[in-house]
Amino acid sequence: MNATVSRVRHAGAVLTVFLKEVRENLRDRRTLMSAFLTGPLLGPVLFVMLVNVQVNRELDKADKPLHVPVIGAQYAPNLVDALKQGGIVPDAAVADPGAAVHKQDADVVLRIAADYAKAWRRGEPVQVELFYDSSRQDTRSAVERVSQLVETYARQQGAMRLVARGLSPGTAWPVQVARRDQATPQSRAVLLFAMLPYFFVITLFLGGMYLAIDLTAGERERQSLEPLFANPVARWKILLGKLAAICTFSLASLAITLLAFAVVGRLIPAAKLGMELDLGWHFAGTVLLLMLPLVMLLAVLQTMVAAFAKSYREAQTYISLLMMVPLIPSALLAFLPIKAQAWMYAVPLLGQNLGIMQQLRGDGVSGEQLLLCLGGTLAAALVAALVTAQLYRSEKLAISG
């Protein structure tokens, strides 16, 4: 009888702390803005802008006339005509093509040698030079376009010479490559959306951050932890109530961001790039499920870091450093294309990252992967929670002076 009564009281204490923290923080404008407005909406807005810029640029480049300085245009009028037909506008020659490219005055410069006409008439191979900078990503399509036009022209002329000598053009090209691209519209989108998982993690992080700081370091700084601990409630229950409040805020943040992405997904002209993007309910549900244990892990980690700090400001500094950690798996996957192994799903952050990307590719997440992902992160959250509970028992935690 007694045991039942006291257990009811225990659950009550956790709930009491939870409700109070939620109510108090709903009254804080900065927390509200960060958790429900700027945090969750920044990602989708930024995304739409970035994608739209990229899409429009790609589309523009395909149709727009391309200005290319041509040196020695007078030696090869036929070649220049062929380029013009391909939508290239030959500009006046520049004195130093290397410098022009380097100073970004031109994306690409074409140089035709002075002995072009002489060699052409003799039927000898002639050289045209393309000046460009391969480290300038944005000029890649321009370079590609010019180079392809030149090569097409060369092949046409070659074929005509062969025909004129009574040979089949096929003799000069015994092997031909036929490309069979296995990318699906979804998998092409993955390239563009590699950073999406990071956006989700950051949203979670920002959603709970102010609460985590306020509920431990803030309360300590305002000296309210000491009277709180004078109540007949075990400290781990107080911690549990606080963690629940942090989780609630960061989950709400994530839900808002997923909703925004679902809406915004329709505005992204992915189809124009030959991509297919499904950010609908099924996607949102899977992300929410994958992220659930991560919500707990991040709340615990933030609280742990905040418990080390002596002041609000100090906690803020530490937590901003902690924010770098979720960047690691995203960056890793973006720059080092690794083949996913089963164990990777059990690694917190990495597992979520892989799962979300898989969902984006349209492959879906298998039951085993889902279990590994949930189990691994949940285990990490539990360990971190035990450590934090230990920190909460320290005498020093309550004392601010």
Partner: protein, 244 residues
């Protein structure tokens, strides 16, 4: 009743409390007097189980504070040195939060709440957020919050710190009322006038030790000084850190 036996607490090499022992009885006001840094706050923190003593024992109504801290906290009402109200909550919400943490049911909460609000004369500030409260309003709220569960033992750490004359007088009246209700009231102070005016028993602490544990009259008789202030200075051996 609060019994303290031979308490020790060190922070690194500093012995903050070095063998403190005294008894605070029900229906009496016991004053813990000592200069700043004498070990008063550390002693009180061990009483309300925020800190664990290195050595010694604390008994609250016969319950050992180390063995059963939750039971001890249920029997104590504590106004710590750190008042720490929640600024974004109203005074009423601050009080109700602690009432729920104490596990009070709604009916008890209402009755106790009303009684305390009247006794502390704080009805006019109840529904205001505590941000911007004066020091006096803050102390009232913190005391109401600490006593909402009707504890038999009341610990107040420097309760009149920073209060103006009117607020101090009100608080003294309230402490007399607590004593009249038969509670054990233990408070710390470095202000002699206050201790002299209120206390049935005075425990003087200096350098982490009890240097006197008497009634005010006995203190005067013991030191041969008719003036309490002179008596204190004589006991402590210095007037550093004491205020009149």
């Amino acid at each position: 009743m609060i019994e303290v036996r031979d308490l020790h607490k060190a922070f690194g090499a500093v012995k903050a409390v070095d063998g403190v022992g005294f008894t605070a009885r029900d229906g009496e006001i016991t004053g813990l007097l000592g200069p700043n840094g004498a070990g008063k706050t550390t002693t009180l923190r061990m009483l309300y189980t925020l800190m664990t003593p290195d050595r010694g024992q604390v008994l609250v109504d016969g319950i050992d504070a180390v063995a059963d801290p939750l039971a001890v906290r249920r029997r104590l009402g504590v106004l710590p040195d750190a008042r720490g109200l929640y600024k974004r909550l109203t005074a009423r919400e601050n009080i109700e939060y602690f009432a729920r943490l104490q596990g009070l049911d709604e009916a008890t909460l209402r009755t106790r709440h009303e009684a305390l609000v009247d006794a502390l004369e704080m009805r006019d500030i109840l529904d205001r957020r505590t941000e911007g409260f004066s020091q006096g309003q803050r102390v009232k709220t913190a005391i109401a919050r600490a006593l909402i569960h009707d504890p038999r033992n009341v610990i107040l750490d420097e309760p009149t710190n920073g209060l103006d004359v009117m607020a101090t007088r009100g608080l003294r009246r309230f402490m007399q009322q607590l004593k009249g209700e038969g509670r054990c009231v233990l408070f710390s102070s470095h202000i002699m006038q206050e201790v002299a005016a209120l206390c049935d028993r005075i425990v003087v602490i200096a350098h982490g030790r009890v240097v006197a544990d008497e009634t005010p009259d006995a203190l005067r008789a013991q030191t041969g000084e008719t003036n309490l202030e002179d008596a204190f200075v004589k006991i402590i051996g210095t007037d550093e850190g004491l205020a009149a």
